[in-house]
């Protein structure tokens, strides 16, 4: 093969390669960024005992429950007919221990609205509706004796928290 025959395909390759490239266009559709959270109306699956205990423990202590502790706890909870009673006592027992990672009452009172939003996200994995926010804001402002423990107990024992 002579030199002329070698140059022609090489030139054609460069021409096609450069000609085939186009600059990537950045297309936007005008959609705003949104935080996607759970909708309460879609929570239709009930947590079983193990899920409930495990999620609750992790929520309060910010660490996973040990398998042995989980087994013992779910058996005891299952042994009581009124699950609300069992869960309330379990929770109350937790609140009587050290190691909980929860806000202080002072922190709650300092910024009630922020506390309400973070509590809904923490327990329900969703934002409060305006009605819910208004109810809790009003209730906490007019009831200075209400503590973080009371609010957390109400959430953890509520029906919505039993579902995911």
């Amino acid at each position: 093969m002579n030199m002329h025959n070698f140059k022609l395909p090489f030139i054609l390759l460069i021409i096609f390669t450069l000609g085939g490239c186009t600059k990537e266009r950045n297309i936007g559709f005008g959609v705003d960024e949104a935080h996607v959270m759970e909708d309460k109306s879609r929570k239709t699956k009930k947590k079983n005992d193990a899920e409930f205990v495990s999620i609750l423990y992790t929520n309060l202590y910010q660490t996973a429950i040990s398998p042995n502790q989980l087994y013992k706890t779910q058996n005891v909870v299952y042994s009581i007919g009124d699950q609300d009673v069992a869960n309330e006592m379990l929770l109350s027992n937790y609140f009587n221990t050290s190691g909980l990672t929860i806000p202080t009452n002072i922190e709650m009172r300092k910024d009630i609205e922020s506390f309400i939003v973070s509590t809904f996200k923490r327990f329900y994995l969703r934002y409060p509706s305006e009605g819910e926010k208004a109810f809790f804001t009003q209730y906490l402002k007019t009831n200075p004796n209400v503590t973080v423990e009371m609010v957390y107990t109400a959430f953890a024992c509520s029906e919505e928290y039993q579902y995911y």
Binding site: K40, K43, K46, K72, T73, N75, V76, V77, Y78, S79, I80, G81, D82, Q83, D84, V85, A86, E88, M89, L90, S92, N93, F95, N96, T97, S129, G131, E132, F135, F136, Y139, N143, N145, V146, M150, V151, T153, A154, F155, C157, S158, E159, E160, Q162, Y163
Partner: protein
Amino acid sequence: MNRKNFITKSGIALGGGILAPYILPSGRLFAKTGSLKADHVVLVMFAGGVRQQESVLGRYLEDSQGVSGAAGNIMPNLFEGNSPTKKIAYGTSVVGKPNGSEPIPKLLTNSMERSGLLFPEMRAQSAGHYVGLSTLLTGNAGTNQGLKVRPAYPTIFEYLRKHAGYKATDTWFIGNGIGNSTPLLNSSNHKDYGLAYGGNMFAAPVTFSNSGKEILGNAKTYSRSDLEPMYFMKNFLDQSFALTKDQISSVSNTDEEKSQIKDFIKSVFSKQQSGQLAMPPVTDNGDALNVMYAAEVLREFKPKMLAVNISGVDSCHSNFTGYLQNLHRADHITGWLWQYIQNNIPQMSGNTIFIVAPECGRNLTPNPILDQNDWVAYDHSDANALRVWGLMAGKGVPSLRVGGESQPVGRLTDIVPTIADVFGILDDVKSAGLIDPLAQSLYNRI
């Protein structure tokens, strides 16, 4: 609106406002009280598959092991009859004497047979435990009943709450564990009844175990002023979520009842700690502990209806000696519970009807498993396992023996209509059409 109309409508509205809070869940205005036979019923679900031969027939080792001259009654609190005199192995063990050679002294002055109503030959509808237990509580043979699910037909707890208007803490089931379907027996999943009318339940040996104490025993005792805001906020959240009826997953206690139950649990742990729990003289098996906790529930709540399940005699599958010992103890703790009610719960003493019935019998022929005494064991699957007895004692119960070995009278499905009869709701229960069509109140079998 003229004056006459105004007065008429105002009157109706006022009357409705006054009466509405008293309308029962069943729609009836007042609970039926005309034929109330007693204020309380205690049912002992006895005790894990009991052969007629060693129980009501008093045959001890004569039939089961072919030991001649070894007949005798090992259940002196329930039945009449002399104790065996040969090869005594059903009692407690004393140092220096053979295992089980000391019978437990009889507690009741008169056996329940002598003071009450005995149906010595009834028929069970199933030879299995769970169907038998659910039959005792539902009055339905429940042959299609699955395991690990709630009974398909309403329990007596639901009938009582729906038709007699009793509150949740008026009805209790004390289960002896969380195995199989035991903790599900406090309510059916029937669409017209269900957990909204279910009874309260403890699987007491688990609730009040060391694990129970660790997990629940350190719970705070909230004051009323602490609880009110919690329940207020919780109720707000629940209204917002609004479960449908078929999503209800727990018994419906009021806030006051919940507080009482929580205080009760803590009080039991406290009594455990200080050794103040009342207990039968011999408490060396799980059944005795379960009956002990049942007695605590009776003393605290004075329920209209309590059913307690014991099952120690099921050791008969592989250990006949253990079966005899547990049968003797089941008699002991049942007698103790009856005595405890009479002596320690004045609100129930003289005003309670006590019912005892096995959930099933046991086989006529043994399996080949030998125990430490070389005695054969018995399962429960043949026709003999459908032979059971029923015993009633207490307020207004006649002293009678109805039927006999060659003349069976009564079915296990009779227990629910009998309890319904005691509380004056027999017609409602029958009208619901969910019990065995052949079932009758035992009062009507006399």
